[in-house]
Symmetry: C2
Subunit: 340 residues, 2 copies
């Protein structure tokens, strides 16, 4: 904190609080904060959480509904305050207007230093999560049929997670035909058709950690054009998986992007090549065209180039990798189009 010129870090009930304390809770309107600074760390929480938080090893300053929570905080006015990226702005605005910080910063650079390299325990949890996610996907394949609505298919995939005792790490994406040119559309009432490229982007939350994988399914054979674009994306994806320790994020991005550009689809690859993954589905490091971040051992991230042809179709292939001396694939699913 000193190096970063930060007097206080304020963490909300987010992935950071889970990382630091093991405690997780949905974010709501009552401030539930972990304050770190000036040699202390304590919770600020509504009285309704007092008993629950008492066993976590930090002092708990509690307030009643109707009391001013911030009057309990020991924060000097005019300090430099770093706030949790995912903390609701309501709290940041209230804190800023109460304590008039000299500087208001993101806690992300600091928290990322702690979280970005995964230890063995974290890696084994994520691998087990992937095993469950992939097993779910393989069962799901048997339930993909012509004329089923995309959202019905998404629901069937979620059912497979549910049956295995896990939750989705994000609302799964099941898009087909022209819908798949929208990389973040979740699903629609469109009925999938024979020959559609169906993009399925899915992950589970297992013991607090996330997975994220994308595969393409087709009912019967896809068109020659889909196959051609798919094989290009597969080449680009596998090239980026050859990343080695010490490369910058932008260099890894370029491994995939240069292949796509060279084949004339550069303007149709409308996102970065990947993102870090851990407790959050998206976290540091980012594998994008401007990323100067050095990718070190223990960092886990996705490799997921895509090509999106508006009005026609879209394809994307996504694996998770962990950097060792070179990137090692964490997924085990095969990468060809799954023909069902």
């Amino acid at each position: 904190m000193e190096e970063n010129g930060i007097d206080y870090v304020i963490i909300g009930p987010t992935s950071n609080m889970f990382y630091l304390t093991g405690f997780s809770e949905e974010q709501m309107e009552r401030p539930l904060l972990l304050i770190v600074g000036k040699g202390e760390a304590y919770f600020l929480a509504s009285k309704i959480y007092e008993e629950q938080l008492s066993s976590l090893g930090f002092p708990v300053f509690s307030y009643n509904d109707g009391e001013d929570p911030y009057s309990k905080l020991k924060i000097e006015k005019g300090s430099s305050i770093a706030v949790d990226d995912q903390l609701w702005s309501k709290f940041t605005v209230e804190i800023a207007n109460t304590f008039l910080p000299r500087k208001l910063l993101s806690s992300s650079p600091l928290m990322s230093t702690l979280r970005v390299r995964k230890d063995e325990n974290e890696v084994s949890i994520m691998k087990e999560g992937l095993r469950i996610a992939e097993d779910s996907f393989l069962s799901f394949l048997n339930r993909v049929e012509e004329e089923a609505e995309e959202c019905m298919l998404a629901k069937r995939l979620e059912e497979e997670f549910y049956l295995r005792g896990v939750e989705p790490s994000f609302r799964p994406i099941v898009t087909s035909g022209p819908n798949a040119s929208m990389p973040h559309l979740r699903c629609t009432q469109r009925k999938v058709k024979r020959g559609d490229a169906i993009v399925v982007d899915f992950g589970v939350k297992y013991r607090g950690y996330s997975t994220d994988t994308t595969r393409v399914i087709s009912i019967g054979n896809p068109s020659q054009e889909v196959k051609m674009v798919y094989s290009l994306i597969l080449e680009a994806q596998e090239k980026a998986e050859e990343a080695i320790e010490g490369m910058k994020g932008k260099e890894i991005d370029n491994l995939a992007r240069s292949i796509i550009k060279r084949n004339g689809f550069g303007s149709r690859f409308i996102h970065r090549t990947g993102h870090g993954i851990g407790i959050d589905v998206h976290e540091n490091p980012y594998i994008s065209q401007d990323s100067e971040e050095i990718i070190e051992r223990g960092m886990t991230f996705t490799v997921e180039p895509g090509i999106y042809l508006q009005g026609k179709f879209g394809v994307r292939i996504e694996d998770m990798v962990i950097m060792d001396s070179k990137a090692r694939k964490m997924n085990t699913l095969e990468k060809d189009i799954f023909i069902v």
Copy 2:
């Protein structure tokens, strides 16, 4: 906005964006904002959302991964900016450090003016949501048995939602015996026992709107002490449901609180009497000891007093009401302890 001295309102992919545009998306690290101000309203979004957002009737300013998103915004430096309460702080910090606002405010007073009184369509959606939630609860009752773990019971309740095609509006609370003295504990591995007061706090999300209800279950007869405390809470709860149009939040709170206090449990009622509900599970108006808010026709809120005896048990009863000339109950479930 003028009345509130606000130049720009910045909305994230939250309940406010859903209310204003019908669009919903999980919040992630790329700014996805609706900017309202100086006679304009437009989206700022990553290129990956461009096609998806194009049909919503607002201009979309899109950026590529790696570009500075904020360079696309037409915000004058030194303005007064109101930000969405649930917008991640990452974006508020970035916007504050980019545009150096004269004032940084919450958009909540403004948005609440729009959202706090529900129209007929909203009310009928919420009532249908309640019907589904209550039907789920009644089926769930058949699946409550001795020695089942609290979290297993919570899962069974979620299954009932799932079977009816809806999602929980929050992670359900199923706490038993001494665990129920923690009002926001979700569940543990504790096995429920004969005679436990089991507090079940649950709701569903239906067509974008939330429900929230609490009932107490007991396997066989609960103790005399539980019965006595329960009948007190029931009296307090029903008293607060007699609220009439024009009362302040704190007056409604006091209807329940004064009965609990008079009976010596004032210090064991450790939260407010209720909260508004709509798209969000918790929203304006709040029914708390310090709430000066006038409760008007069309406002929907919960009435949920509770008593929490540490190391022993807890009870709470929660209904949703809508204010007409007087409060009208939206729930139809009976309110006695459900003996199974």
